[in-house]
């Protein structure tokens, strides 16, 4: 639900771009703007730190795993202890190692799928918005139909028919979730199509694809990033849900498959809390990190949503006064 309301076309991180800059400078500017956005808000900073932590664990964690995550042993169902930090499963697998390896699976498939969803929606949204006409009509119809079809049931039905595995889940999630962002980007592109720099590019004989991806796309990067973050939250949650329902490949350790096996082994009824609490907590913390970033982006875009603290208000007033003074000076000069 939440993801759907996040992006109004205006919620791009404001990025000042000069159209005549060379491409790499523009991208550097964008990166700089993202960095500034990341560090200016405490929420975004905390969220980025959380996400960064999980990416780091996923990258290097598996090199420091105490056990092979799939190795069974004779220590069945032991509670957490110094040798097995998070205990063992019913067949004696080390849950901590599984969790570490699962972080790699879940985080990277989650981010990768998030990128795939974003790419598809960028292509559909920008092409529809730029070309207009029948291309736009067809793409808009596709987008709107995809929006009204219930995503989770469709994902379950699709995943049930195709061979189990991360690729299937990834494909299914991309297929059911691209539409929201595509719609947002389409309306933004629509409003950008008639701007001067686009007209100028067209006049100078640039090809349509070049205009779309080199002229218009960099101006929407803020919107794309915001969309990517909210999509990724949804992807991670859906991914875990599908695996929990037994639609994933249970032999690859991941947060969702840990929960699946815990459920299958009756961990709940047996009181094996160390089996099902950690993976869920990981998903929740990663999700919270991403939504902190998202919340921060929203606040940057729409200051009215900010929760103001008295101390900040004081600073703010001063800044406004200064700004006003400057502006007055500016307007007075030409008079």
């Amino acid at each position: 639900m939440k993801i759907q309301e996040v992006n109004s076309p205006a919620s791009a991180v404001p990025v000042a771009l000069l159209p005549d800059d060379p491409l790499h400078t523009r991208f550097l500017n964008v990166l700089l703007a993202i960095w500034r956005a990341m560090t200016s808000s405490r929420r975004v900073a905390v969220g980025s730190a959380i996400v960064g932590f999980f990416i780091l664990i996923g990258l290097i964690g598996p090199f420091f795993m105490p056990y092979n995550p799939n190795a069974t042993s004779h220590l069945f169902i032991t509670p957490p202890s110094p040798t097995h930090w998070l205990g063992t499963t019913v067949v004696g697998e080390d849950i901590f190692s599984q969790l570490i390896y699962g972080t790699r699976t879940s985080v990277f498939w989650g981010l990768g799928t998030g990128i795939m969803v974003t790419l598809l929606s960028v292509v559909v949204g920008l092409i529809g918005g730029y070309f207009g006409g029948w291309i736009d009509d067809v793409l808009t119809l596709l987008t709107n139909v995809s929006l009204v079809l219930p995503a989770l049931p469709l994902a379950i039905v699709l995943a049930a028919y195709f061979p189990r595995g991360p690729l299937t889940i990834s494909f299914v999630i991309v297929f059911t979730n691209w539409a929201w962002q595509a719609r947002v980007l389409r309306s933004q592109t629509l409003s950008m199509r008639s701007r001067e720099f686009v007209t100028a590019a067209r006049m100078s004989g640039e090809s349509s694809l070049r205009i779309i991806f080199h002229e218009i796309f960099p101006n929407e990067i803020g919107l794309v990033v915001a969309g990517f973050v909210s999509t990724t939250i949804y992807v991670v949650l859906t991914w875990a849900a599908l695996e929990f329902l037994g639609l994933g490949d249970g032999t690859i350790p991941s947060w969702g498959s840990l929960l699946y096996w815990a459920q299958q082994a009756g961990a709940l009824g047996g009181g094996l809390w160390w089996w099902f609490i950690p993976p869920g907590a990981c998903i929740a913390i990663l999700g919270a990190g991403l939504s902190l970033i998202n919340f921060g982006i929203d606040e940057i875009a729409d200051p009215r949503l900010r929760i103001e603290r008295p101390a900040n208000v004081e600073k703010h007033k001063k800044a406004v006064k200064l700004e006003k003074a400057e502006r007055n000076g500016d307007t007075l000069l030409p008079l």
Partner: protein, 332 residues
């Protein structure tokens, strides 16, 4: 009026896409559902070639017909309400099973959605009105965090805490089927309530964040409108301004969301019903997945989709009715 007709055409198109998807997914997927079923059934006894043929025919997977003939047969069956037979409960018609299960989902989901909507909107109004206060500073981030928790994990945790550790609620099922017969008796109804309480609670908690945050954002926008300032200037009481001037206009986006949520309850609360083994349509869908009961799978998906489309249509129309701006802009 033109707007309404366009929407109707769009939904007809969407229904067609859903039906067609439902037809093509099993046929595009690698692997042969009939072979899978035959494999499953032959575990229980010998399956003759004739039975195989009949099975294929019941699923409309009669491979002798060209694809388009299959497609029109499938459409014809749908129009006659013939959804095929279930495999796990062979030969019970799928429609009958769905007809039983759907009421559990509607009851559970209905109560949860209505409660979640009312409480969530109310919290959103309060938090927006007292923006910047301690309530807002605590509740808004808390809700944000809550919406990032995987729902089924929240359900698992509460099941562990309240049913396993504290033993307040039963661990699974829709009612105490071992001791009580279904019927309009006090025992049955109280057993149903006892079983539905925890699932409903988790649903309400999980949906609260969405309602509240939408309401807060929309309310904050509305509060800066001139007519709210005017109402305050007239010296109306806070409560009157809050509910009759601001909230009444701010609730619009949530009303649409509410209509859509009502449509979604027919689809069952898939994950809730899975975790609590609640006998609704979501649970039936999952069993169909595990048992490779394809006719069931397809029919449930179709029913869910039709309900969601219907609700979306209703929400669209409601919006046209409630917000005159939409009516005028679109028809002009």
């Amino acid at each position: 009026m033109r707007h309404v007709i366009r929407r109707i055409l769009f939904y007809i198109c969407a229904v067609w896409v859903a039906i067609t998807l439902d037809f093509f997914i099993p046929r595009l997927a690698p692997g042969d559902p009939v072979a899978a079923i035959v494999g499953k059934m032959s575990l229980k006894g010998y399956v003759s070639p004739e039975m195989k043929q009949t099975l294929a025919a019941t699923f409309g997977l009669d491979t002798h017909d060209p694809l388009w003939v299959q497609y029109f047969k499938y459409l014809g069956n749908l129009f006659h309400g013939n959804l095929g037979n279930s495999i796990q409960y062979f030969p019970t018609p799928v429609a009958q099973i769905i007809g039983q299960d759907i009421w559990w989902s509607i009851m559970l989901g209905g109560v949860a959605v209505i409660l979640g909507f009312i409480i969530g909107c109310f919290l959103g109004i309060i938090v927006a009105w007292k923006r910047g206060s301690a309530v807002d500073a605590v509740l808004s981030p808390a809700m944000n965090f809550l919406s990032a928790i995987p729902y089924f994990w929240l359900a698992l945790l509460s099941l562990y805490l309240f049913s396993y550790l504290l033993n307040w609620f039963p661990l699974s099922g829709g009612y105490d089927s071992a001791n009580i017969d279904p019927g309009w008796t006090f025992d049955f109804i109280s057993s149903v309530i006892q079983h539905a309480f925890l699932p409903a609670l988790t649903l309400v908690v999980a949906s609260l964040a969405g309602w509240m945050l939408t309401m807060r954002n929309s309310m904050i926008t509305t509060l800066s409108e001139d007519y709210v300032l005017m109402a305050k200037a007239k010296g109306l009481s806070d409560r009157r301004v809050m509910f009759w001037y601001a909230a009444r206009n701010a609730v619009l986006p949530n009303i649409t969301g509410f209509a859509i949520a009502i449509g979604a309850i027919v689809g069952g609360q898939l994950l809730t019903e899975m975790v609590f083994s609640y006998p609704g349509i979501g649970y039936a869908l999952l069993q169909a997945v595990n048992q490779q009961d394809y006719a069931m799978l397809q029919s449930i998906f179709l029913i869910i989709t039709l309900a969601v489309l219907g609700a979306n249509f209703l929400a669209d129309m409601l919006y046209v009715f409630l917000d005159p701006r939409v009516r005028q802009e679109r028809s002009a």
